[in-house]
């Protein structure tokens, strides 16, 4: 690894930012249409972010600042590990567990910063977010575990390469439909979209973790959110939808999946936090276990 890799990675990072922020903007329009509104312009999200970054803000002490920096840093590092189609800045570092756990650095940073604000709403939101994570991550991990066993690889590019050999029928979502379903449900949880969005619940706990942020802090958290979404959706694209042989293919898949998840989110109500846990442990976890057992014991679906 040398400086070139870093510059390359930075380039991909910018690309990821533009990609996800645009798609977010487009989605705002899509949702508006669903709700019979006109909706904002597609680049409204860029405007929101840069506006927030340029405003003044208040700080509740060094950990409040440090947490935000650490969170955004961690998430950006994670985003750099993600290959975009055939483009990969840091080969060998796209191990799925590394990504999953480096992602956690960002989460931890944000949680720390939020609690450091001294506002109990923030702590309640963090407590809910972590509980949510305990719910959605486990079925997802179990499915991934089965796939790693099946293919003896745990890198995103490795998964993508294996699936691309078999065309559309080689996609894991086709081969392992149960696992694919679980992963999609978990993705909804990761993205914090309905029905799993109780941790930000604005009316109930004043946006939870975000309650104290404004100005550059909030702007950075917007950035963080975009990168986080990018990482999470990319995981699904790579693992279940065959990644992308070209950048275009990747971007199309990415946009479709994200939009689909967003539409689903907008027609669902919200789970209470303990309902979410019970749901994830009852249905997706059971499906995930069945899927992984099928893979491990019978090898069903493994090429």
């Amino acid at each position: 690894m040398n400086l070139m890799n870093l510059i390359y990675a930075f380039g991909l990072l910018l690309f990821a930012f533009v990609l996800q922020t645009s798609i977010t903007g487009i989605n705002r329009k899509v949702i508006a249409r669903l709700q019979r509104r006109r909706g904002p312009r597609w680049f409204q999200q860029f405007i929101d972010i840069f506006k927030a970054l340029s405003k003044s803000s208040t700080s509740h002490g060094w950990i409040f600042d440090f947490g935000v920096v650490m969170a955004l840093g961690g998430i950006m590092a994670t985003a750099m590990f993600i290959p975009i189609g055939p483009l990969q800045a840091l080969p060998g570092l796209d191990n799925i567990f590394i990504i999953a756990y480096v992602l956690a650095v960002g989460m931890l940073g944000m949680a720390m910063s939020a609690s450091g604000s001294g506002n109990p709403w923030a702590s309640i939101g963090v407590s809910r977010a972590l509980t949510n994570m305990l719910a959605y991550d486990i079925p997802f991990m179990v499915v991934i575990f089965g796939l790693i066993f099946a293919y003896d690889t745990s890198s995103l590019s490795g998964f993508a390469a294996i699936q691309q050999e078999g065309g559309i029928l080689g996609w894991n979502i086709i081969r392992f439909p149960l696992g694919g379903l679980v992963a999609m449900i978990s993705l909804q949880g990761m993205l914090g979209k309905k029905p799993f969005d109780s941790f930000i619940a604005p009316a109930e706990i004043a946006s939870g973790p975000m309650v104290e942020y404004g100005g550059r802090h909030l702007g950075m958290l917007f950035l963080l959110h975009e990168f986080q979404t990018f990482v999470e959706v990319s995981l699904i694209v790579h693992i279940f939808f065959g990644g992308g042989a070209t950048v275009l293919e990747y971007v199309v898949k990415y946009a479709l999946i994200y939009t689909f998840m967003n539409i689903v989110s907008n027609i669902l109500p919200r789970f209470k936090i303990d309902q979410a846990v019970t749901f994830f442990y009852k249905v997706p976890l059971a499906l995930a276990m069945i899927q992984s057992l099928l893979i491990i014991v019978t090898g069903l679906g493994v090429a």
Partner: protein
């Protein structure tokens, strides 16, 4: 210095510390630092002595890489914790005995790790047990010491039985010979395996023997909890290693029933490990006492260590051996930070604290680093070892273990975050406005431990090379390293690169932060309150029932503790029954029994 002298020196050091403490207990506390640090240096310098054999009296020893590794972990934890001793001398009822037992138990562990015959192993094992038993009651609970001893004793007596049985069958006490003999006899190997490993299970705190950890770790003197959790628990891992690695378990069980590809004997124990992970995690989440919380996290981490060791393969075993080091230093560091808090505020209850970061930033940072490692998040050591264990599980397809491992991993975010949010972050109570932080003497070990956690997280190869040697010594493929990268069958981890990228991301983020408009500093009470007026910082702090919605889901859980207490009560009742039946103050009862027994003998004899 050869290791027989080292062991003797450590025992002598214990007596020396006693004598020094007699005249000045604080000097005695310092002497434990000096003696344990000297031991650490001598041990680290003595790596080349691997292979040497020596004897003290009737006890025989052999220096092995695994013994050296465990000793290094143990002395490291002891020596780091010993920096705290002198501050607690005033609170101790018996400061000199404390210092003596502290060093004595350390010397005992080193003897244990180098034992070449089973009797020596047992001798040192028991020495550590009784010496540490008497430190525990100096803290907050007498019952804890009794429970600790009882559980340890169940394990050690079982092991003694296994040792004697093995000797009766194989005719030798020499560890290598006796265990090698078992490879040929699967039935005996199964029996010895299960009974022998029991001591390990009790010490690691594997379900259903975990109940002593929260009790003893939670109520031992604050300076001993780090040692219990970081150090002494690892003795159990050593026994587990002996039962699977030195005892050729896989060879002996090659003919037995396989579940998910593992011999049933091993799989059963793995299930116990998995239960420990889940149970430790769930219990840690609902604790309100920071020390009990970390104690339950030790139960969960013990589960990982046990599962990894039981795998005895290239990946998980290496991960497990590394994890015990990572857990040792991280949990010791976490306990030390709680000790600082307890020293300054007099409590370890999470709900009574808050905002400590504003009074003790260094302690907070150390806690942060240690919990990142405990939760297994990069770039700390804990991540590398958990990654190895999980990759190993994926390689073998051990789904249920992996499920537990994932649950423990994510669950650990929940429980480690709780003290972070409620003890260190949040509102600072006015009574704590003038609180002092850690003293320099306390900061030294905390900073060293944090540095080690990060260093071995970024450069795990320095520890994995030693583990590779251990793996080669028992004939399994050593972990494969390429520079800083770990090359697993099903994945690659270059933690140095991960660290660099993380640093790069952090720098970008920092640059964004610095370039933007400066923010205005406001106080903790100056927050969004939905237009309510707030006056009392303590009340404006979310620390009670942190995960209430989640805890509600399992509040009616069954408890193995009640079950064990019931068993203990049964013995008590048996005693009372014996007492009522045979020990009355009426001689006629005894005459009655004499008649009964004579009649039985007579009738029985008449039939012959």
């Amino acid at each position: 210095m050869s290791f027989d002298l080292l062991i003797l020196m450590m025992f002598a050091g214990a007596f020396l510390a006693y004598l020094i403490s007699k005249s000045n207990s604080e000097a005695g506390g310092i002497s434990t630092v000096v003696i344990s640090l000297i031991s650490l240096v001598l041990l680290l310098l003595g790596k080349s002595q691997v292979g040497n054999e020596f004897a003290i009296l009737y006890m025989t020893f052999k220096v092995t890489t695994i013994g050296w590794y465990f000793s290094a972990v143990m002395i490291l934890v002891y020596s780091m914790t010993s920096f705290f001793n002198s501050y607690w001398m005033k609170q101790m009822l018996y400061p000199n005995a404390y210092n003596f037992l502290y060093l004595f138990s350390l010397a005992g562990t080193v003897g244990l790790f180098f034992a070449a015959d089973l009797v020596t192993l047992f001798i040192f094992w028991e020495m550590v047990v009784w010496s540490s038993t008497f430190i525990v009651p100096l803290g907050k609970s007498r019952r804890a010491a009794v429970v600790y001893y009882t559980i340890s004793s169940i394990g050690s007596m079982a092991t003694l039985y296994a040792i004697m049985l093995l000797h009766a069958k194989s005719g030798t006490f020499i560890i290598s010979e006796a265990f090698a003999w078992l490879a040929t006899d699967p039935t005996m190997a199964t029996i010895v395996f299960f009974i022998f490993i029991l001591a390990g299970l009790t010490k690691i705190g594997i379900f259903p023997f975990h109940i002593w950890l929260p009790l003893a770790h939670g109520s031992a003197p604050h300076t001993f909890s780090p040692v219990l959790s970081g150090g002494l628990v690892k003795m159990g891992a050593f026994i587990a290693y002996m039962s699977v690695g030195v005892l050729p378990a896989y060879q002996a069980f090659s003919g037995s029933l396989k579940i998910m590809g593992m011999p049933i004997q091993i799989y059963l124990l793995m299930v116990l490990g998995a239960i420990s992970i889940v149970l430790g995690t769930l219990m840690a989440i609902k604790q309100d006492d920071a020390k009990k919380l970390i104690a339950y996290s030790s139960v969960a981490n013990g589960g990982y260590i046990l599962i990894g060791i039981l795998m005895m393969d290239q990946l998980s075993c290496a991960g497990s051996l590394m994890h015990l080091f990572n857990h040792a230093i991280a949990s010791a560091a976490a306990f030390l930070t709680i000790a600082v808090v307890a020293h300054r505020t007099g409590t370890t209850k999470i709900s009574e604290l808050g905002g400590m970061i504003h009074r003790m930033p260094v302690t907070f940072t150390v806690y942060l680093i240690s919990i990142i490692s405990l939760a297994g998040i990069p770039p700390m050591g804990g991540f590398v070892s958990k990654w190895l264990i999980i990759q190993g599980l994926a390689d073998k397809g051990l789904l249920f273990m992996a499920l537990a491992a994932f649950f423990g991993s994510i669950g650990s975010f929940l429980y480690v975050f709780r003290p972070l949010a409620a003890v260190f972050l949040g509102q600072l109570a006015p009574k704590n406005y003038e609180l002092e932080g850690a003293t320099l003497m306390m900061k030294i070990p905390m900073v060293i431990l944090s540095a080690l956690i990060i260093f071995f997280g970024v450069f795990p190869r320095y520890i994995l090379e030693v583990i590779g040697e251990i793996q080669s010594s028992i004939g399994i493929t050593p972990i494969q390293l390429e520079g800083n990268a770990i090359q697993a069958i099903n994945g690659l981890l270059n933690s140095y690169h991960v660290f660099v990228i993380f640093g790069f991301g952090f720098l970008i983020s920092l640059a964004i932060f610095m370039l933007l408009q400066k923010s205005r500093k406001v106080g903790l009470m100056d927050t969004f309150t939905s237009a309510e007026f707030i006056h009392t910082p303590e009340l404006y702090h979310y620390s009670h029932d942190f995960y209430a919605p989640f805890e509600r889901l399992y509040k009616n859980h069954p408890s193995v503790e009640n079950f064990l207490v019931n068993i203990a009560n049964k013995f008590d009742e048996l005693g009372q029954m014996v007492n009522a039946l045979f020990f009355s103050h009426k001689p006629s009862i005894t005459v009655f029994w004499i008649t009964v027994v004579t009649a039985i003998i007579y009738l029985g004899g008449a039939r012959i």
